[in-house]
């Protein structure tokens, strides 16, 4: 089975000031199979949203390669690019700001159809919009409503319908439920999973919330300051988190059970901007197990279990077994 999406050494630098470069995405490799979901997790500023926009071609990459269905989309013709664009879509975080306030639900959902001249006549287009509304669970009576007349959950359903309109293969979900209440969040997550089962969709699910991706992802990638620090099948990651950052992230999630945090597992300090970063592990400054090997040269991803990759010096010494820290 070939990968539907493959990136190698993908980089995006933003120029800051006169000679500063913000390394938003710094050498990320992705391989994503059709019908699966990759969860991309990290705190604000880790480059996860930038990564999503890079693979969709909404932002030009600084360097690296992106193959979509075997096509090198950074060096292909316009026709192929347009075809890729049609098959890749995005669902945005905030359904309020990502929907034009002056357009009705019908206009919003039909926009991708109109833009891509998907139907010759209005009646067919209307039928497709109705079908989409039915699919995402929007009642027909909302067809002439405006975004501000609806609640967050329904607005996000419009966002999902827009993404599905052109029957895409691959959808980037950029924090699609972060702006929603828990009970509504569950509705949208279920909807996304149903859509995936029905249409064999591939998702890249970007979120800051590890508990959300657990349900939807087959594989999870943890990002820190533009780099992937750990990649693993979903279950394995939760069962056996390897990177100190992943461990810290997991233990920082407040579970709805009584009992306080384990303070010894809490991270010190805060995330900084990766502007002209020095080589070495970017997490070193906050890491409680930071050693001399962690600074000075970059730490590559190593496979410690089949499919479980970690970029940490604790695992580079003895074929996957943690180094004794004492």
């Amino acid at each position: 089975m070939t990968a539907i999406l493959k990136t190698t050494n993908l980089k995006k630098y933003f120029k800051i000031g006169n000679n500063g470069f913000l390394h938003a995405v710094d050498g990320v490799d992705i391989e994503l199979e059709r019908g699966t979901t990759l969860g991309v997790v990290g705190e604000s500023g880790c480059g996860k949203s930038t990564l999503g926009r890079l693979v969709l071609g909404l932002l030009p990459a600084t360097s690296g390669e992106i193959y979509y269905d075997g096509v090198d989309i950074m060096h292909c013709g316009n026709a192929e690019l347009a075809e890729c664009r049609r098959k890749t879509q995005i669902i945005f975080q905030d359904p309020y700001s990502s929907l034009n306030p002056r357009m009705s639900v019908y206009e919003l959902i039909s926009e991708p159809l109109v833009s891509n001249k998907a139907f010759r006549n209005k009646a067919e287009r209307y039928a497709r919009v109705m079908e989409l509304m039915d699919t995402v669970g929007l009642a027909e009576r909302f067809i002439n409503s405006y975004p501000h007349e609806m609640d967050g959950g329904r607005r996000q359903r419009v966002g999902v319908a827009r993404a599905l309109a052109l029957k895409p293969d691959f959808i980037v979900c950029d924090e699609p439920v972060s702006a929603l209440d828990v009970s509504i969040q569950a509705q949208i997550l279920n909807l996304l999973m149903d859509m995936q089962d029905e249409m064999n969709l591939t998702y890249m699910f970007i979120t800051h919330d590890l508990s959300v991706v657990r349900h939807i992802s087959n594989e999870i990638m943890v990002m820190y300051l533009g780099q992937c620090v750990e990649r693993s099948p979903s279950k394995e990651l939760f069962r056996n988190p390897a990177h100190p950052y992943t461990q810290a992230l997991l233990s920082a999630i407040p579970a709805p059970v009584l009992g306080g945090f384990a303070p010894e597992k809490l991270l010190r300090g805060e995330i900084s901007d990766p502007i002209n970063p020095e080589p070495g592990c970017r997490f070193a400054k906050r890491c409680s197990q930071c050693g001399t090997n962690c600074v000075g040269k970059d730490v590559p991803l190593e496979e410690i279990e089949p499919g479980h990759f970690v970029a940490c010096t604790l695992f580079t010494q003895k074929g996957g077994m943690p180094r004794n820290t004492s």
Binding site: I90, S98, S115
Partner: protein, 298 residues
Amino acid sequence: MTDIIASNTELRKKLKKKSQVAEIWRRFRKNKTAMVGLFIFVFIMLVVIFADAIVPYSVSISQKISARFISPGQDGHLFGTDNFGRDIMARIVHGSRNSLLVGLGAVVCGIVIGGLLGSVAGFYGGTVDSVIVRTLDTVMCIPLMLLVLSIVAALGASLVNVLIAMMIANVPMYARIVRAAVLSVVGQDYIEAAKACGTSNFMIILRHVIPNAIGPIIVQATMAVGTMIINAAGISFLGMGIQPPTPEWGAMLNEAKSYMINYPYTVIFPGLAIGLTALSLNLMGDGLRDALDPKLKD
């Protein structure tokens, strides 16, 4: 669900969305001061349209030395007569056409040219933006009235030339207004969403940028018409605009200023005409702003 194949008329009926214009009008109507402005403006527009029916143009320019300085209300001269015995009301009625023409014309042409520059700068950003903005900023350093006056001096004093001068001189301001409005829209997520679903730049401008940016532009334009009328009056007042005997409010003030000591009414009425017109436009603009942006109201 897929078997809904409807005829076009049926579709149109089904997709009859609530008009947002009606919603704006509903909010505008509740604003008393704005309605007063609208009322005055409609009245002035009626005068402009039916000027010839109210009083023939010839009355406004026919000189009669024997009828100089007749006080308001006497001999059928509602606002009195001026130094040449011309009926002031007739001159105000016909002057309205020239004043409004200059005001509206300058704004409309200015918005078209400035809007083009401003939207190009705002939408594309980068070098294009900074070149346009720098140049416009430089032009804005020259005091507006002086720029207008020197252009009028270069072109010669006439109605059309005043209009052209005001239009040119105001392009930077309109470009800035439009650019700000466009920029506030271009940064929005729904523009990125539209790009993501394959909408062309042209369609994005047409369906997303313009509908969302037009509101503040209309508000500013409405108020700018009032300012333009005042400025045009100022130019005529200095004797460099529309030349007598053509009736125009500012020119009337210029002619009357030597007589204001003994005949104050000769300056009062033309000034009131300018002020009321500008006031009506300002009130309307203010009401429109509130009606377009309900967020400010709470």
